[in-house]
């Protein structure tokens, strides 16, 4: 059983934890040993959030070692840069092309890195860093809260997990009225990922 270490990062409120719960449940259904852990700090809203998700035949540490991540999923660009050094050289990064500058930038306490700098930093680790327009696509769908389903759709192309199970687990984890739109967001994510990675 091939091991997969996923690091999912973003900003509190974006759905990072729900996304990491979903991929963990899908992997559990496929027979993987699974560990996942979130680091939230004390922020209720708007702070940096990172989830470590580990899949394999036997997983020990819930925390992934630096340089061991197989798939980095960033819900926000700065949060991709913050964790890029965790990526294993040559592995996959899926980055939502969306900037949410922290309040510290607005107060003059820092500079939001330019796209080129983020890309340059990621390119040092891997040729397989992909920017996807997740926020723009789910805004078109009419529900920004489906971003996690969209990004899980992107990630699903890199994991040997069945689409039907993904869809089942997503349906169980989102509000009853939002199941169809999340299923659509998941499919759009797959489509977008195919487009940018081919």
């Amino acid at each position: 059983m091939e091991k997969f270490d996923l690091l999912i990062s973003g900003v509190g409120g974006q759905g990072v934890i729900l996304a990491s719960n979903i991929v963990s449940e899908v992997a559990l259904a496929a027979g993987y040993d699974v560990k996942k852990t979130d680091t939230l700090g004390m922020a209720q809203r708007g702070g940096s959030v990172v989830s470590h998700v580990r899949l394999g035949s036997e997983v020990h540490s819930p925390l992934i070692r630096m340089g061991d991540v197989d798939i980095l999923v960033a819900f926000e660009k700065l949060e991709a840069a913050r964790w890029s050094h965790y990526l294993k050289p040559g592995k996959v990064a899926v980055i939502n092309n969306y900037a949410l500058p922290p309040f510290s930038v607005s107060l003059g306490g820092g500079v939001y890195p330019a796209d080129a700098a983020i890309m340059e930093n990621l390119k040092q680790r891997t040729e397989r860093a992909y920017f996807v327009d997740g926020t723009a696509r789910v805004e078109e769908l009419g529900n920004v809260r489906t971003l996690n389903s969209f990004l899980m759709g992107c990630v699903s192309l890199f994991l040997p997990l069945k689409i039907r199970v993904w869809q089942d687990v997503i349906a169980r984890h989102v509000p009853p009225g939002a199941q169809q739109i999340n299923a659509t967001a998941f499919s759009r994510g797959r489509k977008e990922m195919r487009r940018v990675s081919l």
């Binding site: 040993d33 540490s61 070692r65 700065l78 939001y112």
Partner: protein, 600 residues
């Protein structure tokens, strides 16, 4: 059926399946979800207690009365509960009492990172340390059995990484029958701790500890994983998994019970390995105990005693101290790269629409404290006010631009410290700021002290109607129980007036003028005064049309930025309100402070 559970959920399920009938707690990261989770079982009694001391006492009472009980808290909660905790150890129990304590190495959301295992040693009781969710589930059954077999409370020690990680759990039992009626067998020599009886209990405790240490020798939660003899690792809790991951070939002695220690088991393990190393988080608890047995052991010479461990830190320590053999991957591969430099941080902030923002803004301006970051004008060397703070989201009011808090130590300390400063003769007015849940937790007793000793300070109670920081738990003031039932609500103003305080004002958290008037009057009064600032937590309010700044009227004076509201931003020198963040009309504080009427 296999489930993915967090450590906290697994502890709750383990307790439930072990027949727990009374569960108590006060919320505190990382322990909160234990009670939240166990409270979902309707056939047990679960309560949010006023504080951890009360939680311990309620659970102890249940364990005296023939019912299995669990009390859960964060590490610093055990400081609050330490008196009944020690008493529970002295009297012992009738039925199982399990004390779950969740430590926070790395201080993800805590004011210190004390190691609770020391408390188990102090109280002479056993402590079990699960390493993942399956163990968290399993160990609860052992904890209850040990408690009853040895007539002792049992500590189950978790950490943030155990409590807040999900892993696979296979529940292996149904709920133990828990239908025995409660019964209390009076026995003053056991339950009435006058000196004459306590003198009999102490030798019983010492004897119990010897028996427990003997039991630990063959207790199957203390496991040996045979590996190479070059390196022997003694470990427990989540550090066990880091050790296995970083040193897969080493021999490992995993101590599921980290107190009291199985001396012979450790001696025989040590005799089989060339080097004995303890890998544990925080203090050298196991290491010092093992050394005191006369066994040569290493550990904190290279494993940090500060902060949370992770596999990278353990590997780095291993590199520096020759724990790897020469051809091991970790000895030869280059270190991973550094993170991208100079990234702006995403520090925690008071939310947009937070009911604490307005009162801090006023305190800040009355105390002549607030300055925009980068402002040329320096604040006065001495602020007009000294503001003692407390524990909750509102501690974030200490940050600029609000800068409206001078101290924060532990739960409920704001009022006592304010009184101490006043009695020390500090010339300036002292204000204590405390949240509703924290006030009920342990602020009340200090306020009684201030009444009794004729304090003249001002106490500001920030009443957002919930325990917000830990995720919106109910408390005695909310009128709803931990299991969602309507119940009595303790009135803050009624309580305060009942203590004999006459100068009591209640004001809306979103009425800037009202807050200013109330605070000015309270600060001017030469008597003890209480201002209750009331408004719902921003996370729980209904959002309406966001506020906007009219660029025609705005002259960029920056007054609104003194609120520190994350929704008020500037781009290319112009101020604007981020519509995705603003909560709309339930707040409206920026609208009230704008001197040019540019926000609507």
């Amino acid at each position: 059926m296999m489930q993915l559970l967090s450590g906290n959920e697994a502890i709750a399920l383990g307790a439930y399946h072990s027949g727990v009938r009374v569960a108590t707690a006060y919320p505190g990261t990382p322990s909160t979800e234990i009670l939240e989770s166990v409270a979902t079982f309707s056939d047990i009694y679960a309560e949010w207690s006023t504080n951890e001391k009360v939680a311990m006492e309620v659970a102890l009472g249940a364990a005296y009365a023939g019912v299995r009980a669990m009390v859960s808290m964060k590490h610093v909660g055990l400081n609050v509960a330490s008196d009944p905790f020690m008493a529970a150890s002295t009297t012992g129990v009738s039925t199982g009492l399990v004390v779950v304590v969740a430590d926070d190495p790395g201080m993800h959301s805590s004011q210190n990172e004390q190691d609770s295992r020391h408390y188990a040693r102090l109280a002479k009781i056993p402590v079990l340390e699960p390493a993942d969710s399956q163990e968290a589930y399993d160990f609860m059954a052992h904890a209850f059995t040990l408690s009853e077999e040895f007539d002792t409370p049992v500590m189950v020690r978790s950490t943030t990484r155990i409590s807040h990680s999900k892993s696979v759990v296979r529940p292996n039992r149904d709920r133990l029958a828990a239908d025995m009626p409660a019964h209390f067998q009076n026995c003053i020599a056991k339950y009435v701790m006058m000196p004459v009886f306590a003198r009999q209990r102490h030798p019983a405790m010492e004897e119990r500890l010897v028996k427990l240490a003997d039991y630990a020798e063959t207790f199957y939660l203390n496991q040996v994983f045979a590996g190479e003899s070059r390196l022997g690792i003694v470990t427990g809790g989540v550090a066990y998994h880091y050790a296995r991951e970083v040193f897969p070939k080493a021999s490992v002695l995993k101590l599921g019970m980290s107190y009291p220690l199985p001396a012979n088991l450790i001696r025989s393990f040590a005799a089989q390995v060339d080097r004995l190393v303890v890998i544990e988080e925080l203090d050298p608890f196991l290491e010092d105990l093992i050394r005191s047995l006369g066994i040569r052991v290493e550990g904190k010479d290279f494993i940090p005693r500060v902060g949370e461990l992770n596999p990278d830190i353990v590997a780095r320590a291993g590199r520096g101290s020759g724990l790897f053999d020469n051809n091991h991957n970790d000895e030869t591969t280059p270190l991973p790269p550094e993170p991208m430099p100079n990234l702006p941080p995403r520090a925690p902030l008071l939310c947009p629409g937070c009911p604490h923002t307005g009162v801090f803004y006023i305190l800040s301006s009355l105390g002549q404290r607030s300055r925009l970051p980068g402002a040329k004008e320096k604040p006065p060397a001495k602020s007009k006010l000294v503001i003692t703070g407390d524990i909750g989201c509102y501690t974030l009011g200490a940050y600029p631009p609000l800068s409206a808090m001078d101290t924060c130590a532990c739960m409920g300390a704001s009022i006592g410290k304010a009184l101490g400063m006043e009695k020390a003769g500090l010339g300036r007015k002292v204000v204590a700021v405390i949240g509703d849940s924290t006030f009920l937790h342990s602020g009340i007793t200090s306020l009684v002290d201030a009444v009794y000793n004729d304090g003249r300070l001002t106490v500001v109670i920030l009443d957002n109607g919930t325990t917000a920081m830990t995720g919106h738990q109910h408390h005695p003031g909310t009128g709803v129980s931990a299991q969602g039932r309507d119940t009595n609500a303790v009135s803050l103003e009624g309580t305060v007036r009942g203590l004999g305080i006459n100068d009591v004002t209640v004001v809306s958290a979103f009425d800037i003028k009202g807050i200013r008037t109330a605070l000015k009057s309270a600060l001017a009064a030469d008597e003890l005064s209480v201002v209750i600032v009331r408004g719902p937590c921003a996370v729980r309010i209904k959002r309406t049309t966001p506020r906007v700044i009219d660029p025609e009227k705005c002259n960029n004076c920056g007054t609104c930025r003194l609120l520190g509201c994350p929704a008020i931003r500037s781009e290319a020198g112009r101020l604007y309100i981020e519509p995705l963040l603003c909560v709309g009309e339930s707040c409206g504080i920026c609208e009230q402070v704008c001197p040019r009427g540019a926000i609507h």
